[in-house]
């Protein structure tokens, strides 16, 4: 049965005292075709509303519309899926797995996010991906992909080939992995990165981290998030709250990139998430950015919601 799902959010951002209102809607359509095919596409409708000198209130341009990806997946075997079309570039973990506003713990993007994902966060080409149990102690997941050059904005992409693999140890609840990409145009350079996600069994704690390196810059982020469900008071409220922190650093490379900071930058952020109900989350965070251009405060407040709408009668699973 086809499904319309996705997320919507209203994000308020104060960067160096400048307010910016950012409404965003990200619908995702899933269409099963037979037993082995899935078509999925995600679009984004967003706007940036800012204060204009001499005018009252917030003003923005036209709504920005973008089809982020539109892919056709063929479930080849239990352990391999073939994807063709436009797909999110599987470099690192943030772009593919943590990007939607209802999933991410902090609303701001990591500084290194643009590394390895192409000019519009997606690739145009083909990919084989999957996962399998290599040993009882660990699972392996992999994605091998190729992207062709596309210069049509906003669906532009670079020409590159790459691979990402990860090893997940269910007992330790630890995933570690790496990404490698070779750019087949411009400076024909290699990019690589590492990622890790750890959820200790004794604590409601998630620790995520990522490192990326390219000729245009390198850096890392580490993000612990702790749910307060173990606190012995106000348990109904505490189990809905999550404390988050993130420390990140970016180092400029030999080449410049419009998407990356122009100078070495580091940032630390602290935030609080409150989960009202399934899919509805309020979050607020404070960050301090340090760079040669001057230090500044970044405040973010957001309300996000994940929706799921069946496009047909929702009955038995068959």
């Amino acid at each position: 049965m086809p499904l319309l799902t996705g997320s919507t959010g209203f994000i308020t951002n104060f960067t160096g005292g400048q307010p910016d209102l950012h409404p965003i809607v990200t619908p995702l359509v899933l269409v099963p075709i037979g037993r082995r095919w899935v078509f999925e596409t995600r679009a984004t409708f967003e706007n940036d509303l800012v204060e204009v000198p001499g005018r009252s209130g917030f003003h923005g341009g036209p709504v920005q519309k973008e089809v982020e990806y539109a892919e056709l997946d063929f479930l080849l075997t239990s352990y391999a899926t073939v994807t063709v079309g436009r797909f999110l570039t599987p470099f690192g973990i943030f772009n593919e797995r943590l990007y939607p506003v209802w999933i991410r713990n902090l609303q701001s993007d990591p500084l290194i996010l643009p590394i390895g994902i192409g000019p519009s966060n997606a690739s145009t080409g083909g990919m084989i991906r999957g996962g399998f149990k290599a040993r009882p102690q660990f699972n392996i997941n992999y994605a091998v992909y190729f992207s062709a050059l596309s210069t049509t904005s906003p669906v532009d992409s670079d020409r590159f080939a790459g691979v990402r693999t990860g090893i997940f140890m269910p007992k330790a609840r630890l995933e570690v992995g790496g990404s490698f990409q070779h750019l087949l145009e411009q400076e024909r350079s290699n990019l690589f990165g590492f990622h890790a996600i750890w959820q200790p069994t004794l604590l409601p704690l998630d620790i995520r981290a990522e490192y990326a390196n390219s000729k245009r810059g390198s850096g890392y982020w580490i993000e612990p998030a702790y749910k307060l469900s173990q606190l012995p008071f106000l348990q109904n409220e505490m189990r809905r709250m999550q404390l988050v922190a993130r420390y990140q650093q970016f180092f400029t490379g030999d080449l410049v990139s419009d998407a990356l900071p122009p100078i070495d930058t580091k940032e630390c952020e602290f935030g609080l998430n409150y989960y009202f109900m399934d899919g509805l989350k309020a979050s607020g965070d404070y960050g301090r950015q340090f760079s040669g251009a001057g230090n500044l405060n970044v405040w973010t407040m957001a309300l996000t919601y994940r929706f799921v709408i069946p496009l047909g009668p929702a009955g038995s699973a068959r």
Partner: protein
């Protein structure tokens, strides 16, 4: 020259992964057919006592389902919980589609997908 080597290595790696996946699939289907054959033989041998064993068989089916649910919960917490908060229950067909999407996104196997669906819908 270096680019060719990288491409050859990527293609080689891809071939190894696909071969390993196909081998696992064949091994799994081989095991399944052995189980089916064994099940068929046991049914044929115990046909006369079938009625007397029904409650026991039912009990074992219920315990199998319970085990599948527990395993599904474990897989759900390990795989889905790595990225996002657990969602509430949805109708079965909605959940089936969402899990099919996550099979691709989270690189789950068919087995994991089935167990998570059992956990999320029962």
């Amino acid at each position: 020259m270096r680019r060719e080597w990288i491409l050859v290595c990527s293609v080689g790696l891809m071939a190894c992964l696909v071969r390993s996946a196909i081998a696992q699939q064949q091994e799994k289907s081989g095991k399944d057919s052995v189980v089916v054959a064994a099940g068929g033989a046991s049914t044929a041998n115990s046909n006369s006592s079938h009625d007397r064993r029904s409650p026991k068989a039912l009990g074992s089916s219920a315990s199998e389902q319970r085990a599948a649910r527990i395993e599904g919960e474990k897989i759900f917490r390990a795989n889905c919980g790595r990225c996002h908060q657990p969602p509430h229950q949805f109708p079965p067909r909605v959940m089936a589609m969402a899990i099919r999407h996550m099979r691709v996104r989270a690189m789950l196997t068919d087995e994991d997908m089935r167990l998570i669906l059992t956990y999320m819908t029962q």
